[in-house]
């Protein structure tokens, strides 16, 4: 297979999306801290390259599932930021009419079949979606995002086992952000990497730097092509870091400032920007223009989200 290379427009687009997602999450955090949003939320700051790299490499007929930390996945798939924010505000304009909140959104038009508050709960749904595709000979791949913590659930095992024996077209994307809430991955896994689980299912598996959007995009494009050609299940591990706390008001006492600094140096946005400087001579002027555009898109989204309420 010829390796798939990302085009520079795609890279630029990825950078724009990632920047937008980060700004979206930061703004949400402010709104939460101001007490303007009820309930809880889980931000994906630091993991933007996972969402964007994967979603950019998928096709319209692919079906997506996500977890509690799904804003980035939704936005990268093309969700309207106003409606995502509206949902988080509990507005009737939200993707679930304000019933779902931050953890529960679905967008049928984008084949985004749902995020979910039960850890690992969407993994079997993706297998079921893939089984449907196989039985009904429908095109596309089922893709599910989940975290390193989801590996602990029995349903992860059952799902991978059945996906493997039935050879259904499904891509399991594990964002290993090193923590499940306060629990370090190394504390709850006897093996070093999520991909080390794949041999138990005789499953194709890949591990890649999840903070490198190009690497993610290219690998996913290749995997996706392979699945589309010959349906099967693949496990993909994206190494990344949950820069924010787990949810609102987590002071992260369970990890060191050194570790945080180490990962900050691997920030996916900064790295993508450096690549853009090489590829398309991205400069401060374009960056400033982007910031401005993002600012106004965010304002519009927020205005839309806050205009109507129950």
């Amino acid at each position: 297979m010829i390796p798939i290379m990302m085009q520079s427009e795609q890279l630029t687009d990825a950078y724009i999306q990632m920047s937008f997602i980060r700004a979206f999450e930061h703004r949400l955090n402010e709104l939460f801290l101001q007490g303007l949003i009820a309930g809880t939320t889980h931000l994906c700051v630091g993991q933007e390259a996972c969402a964007v790299g994967v979603c950019q490499a998928l096709k319209a007929e692919d079906c997506l599932f996500s977890n509690h930390r799904g804003h980035g996945h939704l936005l990268a798939r093309g969700a309207d930021p106003g409606r995502v924010m509206a949902e988080i505000f509990g507005s009737p304009r939200g993707y679930a009419g304000g019933r779902g909140g931050s953890q529960h959104m679905a967008i049928g038009d984008l084949n985004f079949m749902g995020t979910h508050g039960i850890t690992a709960g969407t993994i079997p749904l993706a297998v079921g979606c893939a089984l449907h595709k196989k039985l009904r000979r429908e095109p596309g791949v089922a893709v599910v995002f989940f975290g390193d913590g989801a590996i602990g659930e029995g349903i992860f095992h059952e799902s991978l086992n059945m996906a493997a024996i039935w050879k259904v077209p499904v891509l399991f994307v594990c964002e290993n952000n090193q923590y499940a809430m306060s629990t370090a991955f190394r504390k709850i896994s006897p093996v070093a990497h999520v991909v080390d689980r794949a041999s138990a299912y005789n499953m194709e598996a890949h591990r890649v730097d999840g903070n490198d959007v190009e690497a993610v995009h290219e690998l996913v494009a290749e995997i996706r092509g392979g699945i589309a050609e010959q349906p099967h299940a693949v496990l993909l591990e994206l190494d990344t870091y949950r820069v924010s706390g787990h949810s609102r008001g987590d002071p992260c006492v369970y990890r060191s400032r050194e570790e945080e600094a180490h990962w900050l140096a691997l920030d996916p946005l900064a790295r993508c920007r450096r690549r853009l400087e090489e590829e398309v001579a991205w400069d401060d002027a374009r960056e400033a223009a982007l910031r401005e555009e993002i600012g106004s898109r965010l304002k519009a989204a927020e205005a839309f989200a806050r205009e109507e309420s129950y």
């Binding site: 079906c63 019933r99 039960i118 449907h132």
Partner: protein, 325 residues
Amino acid sequence: MRELSMSAAIREALAQILQERPEAFLIGEDIGVYGGAFKTTSGFVDQFGSDRVIDTPISEAGFVSIAAGAALMGSHPIVEIMFMDFLALAFDGIINVAVKWREIYGPEYAMPMIVRAPAGAGRSYGPTHSQSFEGLLQNVPRLTICCPSNPADAASLLLGAMALREPVIFIEHKALYARKGMVPEILTPGAIGRAGIVRRGTDLTIVAYGRQVPIALQAAEQLAAEGIDCEVIDLRTVKPLDTEAIISSIQRTGRGMSLEESPIIGGIGSEIAAVIMEHAFDYLEAPFARLGAAEQAIPCNPKLEEQCFPTIATVAAKARDLVAY
């Protein structure tokens, strides 16, 4: 009309569904060449192929949620849980997924699926193979639960459950599989949520479902000889409950009792009692009574097992008490 056992009637309804509905498939443990633990799918894998009759590993939680995922895409899976006791492993998929997607996201996100579960006692299968969870599951918002008592109803409710396009728990009492009954030549979908009055009477209403229906009918026969004229209601679906049928019967008889396969505390009878209280209070001449499974693990020994459930004798005794109240 012809005579069929309940398992034969179920088998025929399933075959009809597979024939008529390309989006339907069966999924569960040993339902292929083995034909299911109770043989309700025997021969299907040869007839319909292994894409429509899918054998799974022993992974109840997994394949219930996988079915939900397929349902979300437009399939209409029919899941077989070999014994209902094992559904305890898959409650998350029912409670947090199958009934919720539609509630949260709207009707285009419905997960139409039927979960068939052989259940109940009477065959000495012991404490992990004799339970029936309708009492417990009725507390799950908007979950539909069918409990047929005879071959004709089993077939028509199964087709009705398909027509509903919602998650349905379909409870098949193991002790009824071999029981025969008349079944129409052409199977048609029955209404979900509609009880049937299977015996008319004026003195007392017995509300039952599943294998408690024949017990109620036999008790009613015995009581008739004593001059107590019982009406017997077969619920058919325990959720939604046909409150209208129950209330109007109680309004006529003024007295009633429930028979159930679940434990009494928090069971179907408690719900019925509460509904009657709310809607037929002024018609009641005696307190509504509940009979059901004993508050314990169901024992293997046939005599001990029988003592855990309503019998013709205990039903008749309770009926006499109520009439004398």
